[in-house]
Amino acid sequence: MTPEWARRREQVAEILERYPERRSAIMPLLHLAQEERGYVAQEDVEAIAEILEMTPAQVESVASFYALYRRRPQGRYTLTVCSNLACVLGGARGLVEHLRQRLGVEPGETTPDGLFTLQVTGECLAACDQAPVMQVNGYYVHRAVPEKVDRVLEALRRGVPPASLADRATLPGEAAAPPDGASAGTGPGPSQEEASAHGRAL
């Protein structure tokens, strides 16, 4: 067991406790590895196999099933653009194009400075009323039109944590501002009409 995993002993014990059977802990342990390292390394696989009394092959078999576990290093911020139906209708293509230009990378790649990884997912991110949508390390950016995306990228570069940029799920008519959105300088998003008009134009 690596020193890292030896250090996590208590955390691991807490995770194991949640489940009547040991193997159930595999997903939280993989999440744990990924949170700390940004991806799941081979030594994490081996450590988890040992903890759960599985073979490394079994751990890899499970890990490879799920799209969110990454087996290669990622950028500090992973930008995940939804490209399911509602977002495609709402301008996802334009959003991807914009990010490709701004970041100079193709989907799946990381910027040379190691800051951003661009991902395009076919999975609907469950924010269809806010299309086009992306996530930064799992935090939502609703109505991600170019101006807003630029503001978000700039804030991230300044070191603003993505959590404080996050948009919450809303009811129609509710103000779309994040709780402390003002401080991040993103401001309320554009209307759906604006967003889709933009998507169409691109």
Partner: protein, 427 residues
Amino acid sequence: MAVPFEPVLTAGIGRLALEELEVYESQGGYQALRKAVRQMTPQEVQKEVTDSNLRGRGGAGFPTGRKWSFLPNDGRPRYLICNADESEPGTFKDRLLLERNPHLVIEGIMLAGYAIGAARAFIYLRGEFRQAYEVLQRALARARERGYVGRRVLGSDFSLEIVVHRGAGAYICGEETGLLSSLQGGRGEPRLKPPFPATSGLYGQPTVVNNVETLACLPSIISRGAAWFASIGSPRSPGPKIFSVSGRVRRPGNYELPLGTPLREILFEHAGGLEPGRRIKAVQPGGGSSPILTEQHLDVAMDFDSVAQAGSMLGSAGVIVLDDRDCIVEAARVLAEFYAHESCGQCTPCREGLHWAARVLRRIEQGGGRPEDIEVLQSLPSRIAGRTICPLADAGVGFLSSSLKYFMDEYRSHVTLGRCVQEAYVA
């Protein structure tokens, strides 16, 4: 409807910080749980739910009380799972509840857990829902402090711990047996039913899997009574329902309305209708898996039975609207690629067939279509749907088969022209 409908599940969202325990309590929160554990037996809670005629909001519309009644009484531990894997294209209602009204969901879980005597409850939370995870963890911690969750709930003999289990990006884990495999530490591969989870679920023990919104209905059923609930909406599909409306409407969003509200009313009165001059081309009434409806179906009552009669399904009630400028081939391709990507890969027809369909659609979309492709596309749905272990395969061809039915001409001309006939694609 005699009494005007008031939102139940989303009441207060946008006005109040319901994710704060005190705020939730101030709105009568956890009173239903208090009532249940102090004044009702588990059987009484179960009866109330059965009488309310609540039907599952996860997609199949199965009566919740009936589902619970299948649990065998054999002393084995029982598990309760809240299905919060919401990944159905066009569906974003559970996320709203989880992020904005988490205590309602927690209270619902505790009520269900009390009713069925669960040994432990799990929330299988979609991996992408990081914000919801943070909100839930905080809410759970607060609820535990207050004695709503954990040992000896509100001083009663009832104990139940809730564990949040995060998924990691796999639509198929929303399917209940895929979810169970995943929660057991495996690949999220569905398995053959029977045995049903009620008899052999998590770790082979009796298990109930209920959707977030289903569980969120429980507090109001317990506090206001089954009769009240049953009186809302369609008699055979009663209760409040959140419709997630997206696509070509002017005010997309979640609308909580009685089940059975006509589709036309949802789209035009609530979601703001279409942009001026546009016409409805196709509507998926129940998420990306549901076959499309067209203008002729706009008066369908949005409840489980009526939508099924119209040839589609209410599913998750994620309503996706396409208007006359949208390309049917592109929409079919986007969905086919999604389902092909989400196939767990076990069943040949699903793994190979959906991928084949997606490739052919992409080629047609890009202008490389050939007349024989139409024949291939037509032959695929009946060789995929209903031929596999789980219904993902059916879902994967829902849009394709229904759109071939209504828009054959458009497919054909896309093939002959080598491009889309729709406005947006005409330069």
